[in-house]
């Protein structure tokens, strides 16, 4: 009888890449107008690139001003018929879209990860299921609109122009389209130039769902396309999610025109850890708050405010936990942090991190092996940050957390509110009364208690101050797509 020697066995997870052979992506995508894919009026195709490998995935048509005008005309023509359908009939189409998203979930998740660089774990478990959930939620509202705005007669706005960012491409498209369609509007969606592919798959889903032609148009393109869209005659509303700078430009462009507007812009959200928090779970929440989607989250908990009495412990535990993050191939099912979305974004992150070092904050970056090709940034923590530093003020939109300390509840509230932004905040305390007191004093649209970055279609989302206005999600998310008749 032999006895095995008792040495420690090393154990690493073998690579577990999600398969891509099931994808049916085309080599080239046109503009989705009137229920069909079309060539742009002035042919222009740009590659959509995988940020983890810098390889092109597919060529995508970019819409010019003529295409925008055409899409608006088609949407205008389709709108009265769509609005005239009984709510329950509109709901059937929206339910169908939701179910088709579920049916094609794997394909959508892999495409989202290839196109945007986010870990498959997130596209599979968060982006795609939530996108379907938003369509399901608003499908249910389509025949109950008069209860969405209490005791008033309501009507759709008409044609809505919707511009979404690259951080949650399909999910943001769902946030925009689902309520717009439920309310009887027709929509023209412009996905971001670096991540158009899942929106184009959504166009295919609209075809499969036999959505009446012209109800949804999808016009990929860059900022120029977006600028043409918001300036196009014949639109009734603009809904934009993206940077504060572009939001300002849109608001200026709409000044003096009778066009409704909602903006969901940047943030520098405070994640506040009190000394009576469950520290281990708070550390998980900090990680989820800032490293989720490489920190490309408008409501990312990028300003960590820690009570001084527990700062040392929280920082030590956070740093240890950061060392266990698995950074790399976004398609690997065990990857926690994927690729930065684009070269331009990587540059922006690097610039702000340099500023943080120059201003005297202490930088720690995880010593992880990063792939040679593609755009990558190691998870990073800054300590000894002062409220005056740029990294405490400006949105980095990357895997970089700035740690500041506070002494009292009052100071925590004051510091959290000391920002031009007001999108979200996190509160970590075991005391319910304290959580309510702080939450009601915070000028932020979303306040999470003992969790962070949790989204639900029933909950309203939106900003204070320069983080924008208007709400998405839940019954509040209907209001921006309706006008009150009487």
């Amino acid at each position: 009888m032999t006895v095995e020697p008792r040495q420690a066995l090393v154990w690493d997870y073998a690579p577990a890449p999600e398969a891509t052979d099931h994808l049916r992506l085309r080599d080239r995508y046109g503009l989705f107008i009137a229920g069909e894919f079309h060539e742009p009026a002035v042919p222009r195709y740009e590659p959509s690139v995988n940020p983890a490998s810098e390889e092109p995935i597919a060529e995508v048509a970019w819409a010019g001003p003529a295409d925008v005008r055409r899409a608006v005309e088609v949407a205008r023509a389709a709108q009265p018929r769509w609005a005239a359908l009984p709510g329950r009939e509109r709901a059937k189409y929206i339910f169908r879209i939701a179910r088709l998203i579920q049916e094609r979930a794997r394909e959508l998740a892999v495409t989202e990860t290839l196109d945007g660089g986010k870990p498959l774990r997130e596209s599979r478990d968060v982006d795609i299921p939530l996108a379907a959930a938003h369509f399901f939620h608003y499908a249910g509202w389509a025949d109950k609109l008069r209860y969405g705005v209490v005791a008033r007669e309501v009507a759709p706005l008409g044609v809505v122009a919707q511009i979404v960012p690259w951080n949650f491409p399909l999910l943001m498209a769902a946030w925009k389209l689902a309520p717009a369609l439920a309310c009887g509007n027709t929509a023209i969606l412009k996905p971001a130039e670096t991540t158009p592919l899942t929106s184009l798959l959504l166009a295919e889903i609209c075809q499969e769902a036999e959505l009446p032609e012209g109800v949804v148009a999808i016009l990929p393109g860059d900022g120029a396309t977006g600028a043409a869209l918001v300036r196009a005659p014949g639109i009734d509303k603009v809904a934009f999610t993206g940077s504060t700078a572009v939001g300002r430009d849109i608001q200026a462009a709409l000044a003096g025109r009778d066009i409704a507007l909602t903006l969901e812009l940047g943030g520098k959200s405070a994640n506040i850890v009190f000394e009576d928090a469950a520290i281990d779970q708070a550390v998980e929440g900090i990680v989820n708050g800032i490293f989720f989607n490489q920190g490309h989250v408008c409501c990312a908990g990028s300003r960590l405010l820690v009570q001084e009495s527990v700062a040392e412990e929280v920082i030590a535990k956070l740093w240890a936990r950061m060392g266990r993050l698995r950074v790399g191939d976004p398609l690997d099912k065990n990857t926690d942090v994927g690729a930065v979305n684009s070269a331009a974004q990587l540059e922006r992150i690097e610039e702000l991190v340099r500023a943080g070092e120059d201003e005297g904050a202490v930088r720690r970056s995880v010593a992880c092996e990063l792939p040679e090709r593609g755009f990558w940034f190691a998870p990073t923590m800054f300590t000894d940050v002062s409220p005056v530093h740029r990294i405490a003020v400006e949105e980095i939109f990357g895997p970089v957390v700035s740690v500041l300390t506070f002494r009292t509840v009052e100071e925590a509230i004051a510091k959290a509110n000391n920002s031009v932004y007001g999108l979200a905040a996190g509160i970590w305390t075991d005391k319910g009364a304290k959580a309510f007191q702080v939450a009601s004093a915070l000028r932020a649209g979303v306040v999470w208690q003992n969790t962070y970055n949790h989204f639900d279609p029933t909950a309203a989302f939106g900003g204070y101050k320069e983080s924008g206005f208007g709400r998405e999600g839940g019954p509040a998310g209907l209001r921006p797509y309706l006008r009150v008749v009487r």
Partner: protein, 295 residues
């Protein structure tokens, strides 16, 4: 003195534990994970119907779980009631597989301290190299931390050279905060291992209690410099559950805990599922139950 509990958030624990359950363990990682799971197993029989014959057969299985799969190591230990320690020790002599015994009025622990110490002494005298004791839940729930610790210290002394695993029976403690508190008491009182459950309560080593106890070990070891092991017992009945526990250990304490000196999984039925899953990684086909011996 009133008790001060460190805060543990139930929802956050459940989320993190579930997240680690979604790690993809495939191909070579699965094979190696199964080998580790077998190597840290305390193969256990704790029934009123246990006999010398049953224990001898179990010991043979412990030493060589699958003659057809030579790369599968022996398990770490065989765990029996005190009356059968002598049988197990003899059957395992010279094999490297250790003899473990439950003691201290297992599983309820509702006997006097004197009886607990005699129980422990008997087991050690008969050759137990490891003792799995239960804490007094009666004292713990009544808030008498001092008595809980005193009993552990006394049993620790009665163990002599034997390793002491302290079962805190998480299912009976009421909250994760109490699980963490009991873990800390056991470690402060000298436990070599802390162990989740007896396997006789309503719930066993759920991923959530494992996570809470592993975080307690991490914090205690960091603070004191003394290394404490972890044993998950109860409800770890198949390969998926065993690998999930290994992931929890790896990502909370690190790879250096994936050894029998620091980690145990108490199980009986899980062993054959591990063997069947291992065989599948080699042949591509699911094995039949009868391909492996019952014990």
């Amino acid at each position: 003195m009133s008790r001060r509990l460190a805060h543990v958030d139930r929802v956050g624990v459940a989320e993190r534990a579930a997240q680690l359950g979604r790690r993809s363990i495939k191909t070579t990682a699965k094979q190696q994970g199964i080998r580790i799971a077998v190597s840290v197993m305390d193969l256990t029989t704790l029934e009123g119907s246990d006999t010398a014959g049953k224990v001898r057969q179990l010991c043979a299985k412990a030493v060589c779980p699958a003659p057809t799969l030579p790369e599968i190591p022996s398990v770490a230990a065989v765990c029996v009631y005190p009356s059968l320690v002598g049988v197990a020790r003899e059957a395992l002599a010279g094999t490297g597989v250790r003899t473990a015994s439950v003691a201290t009025g297992f599983p309820a622990g509702q006997v006097s301290l004197a009886a607990k110490l005699r129980d422990t002494g008997d087991a050690v005298q008969d050759g137990a190299q490891e003792v799995d004791m239960v804490i007094s839940r009666e004292a713990f729930l009544a808030g008498d931390d001092a008595r809980v610790m005193h009993e552990i210290e006394a049993v620790r002394e009665a163990c002599g050279e034997a390793h002491l695993k302290v079962i805190i029976e998480t299912a009976e403690l009421g909250s994760y905060e109490h699980v963490r508190h009991a873990s800390m008491l056991a470690m402060e009182a000298g436990a070599d291992f802390i162990k989740t459950s007896t396997g006789k309560a309503a719930a066993g080593a759920t991923p959530e209690v494992c996570l809470v106890m592993l975080e307690a070990i991490r914090d205690y070891t960091e603070r004191s410099g003394r290394i404490v092991g972890f044993k998950a017992a109860g409800g770890v009945s198949n390969t998926k559950a065993a690998l999930h526990r290994l992931v929890l250990v790896k990502e909370t304490l690190g790879d250096e805990w994936l050894t029998p000196a620091r980690l145990r999984i108490g199980a009986s039925s899980a062993l054959n599922d591990l063997l069947m899953q291992y065989a599948k990684t080699q042949t591509g086909r699911y094995a039949r139950g009868e391909d492996f011996s019952l014990e």
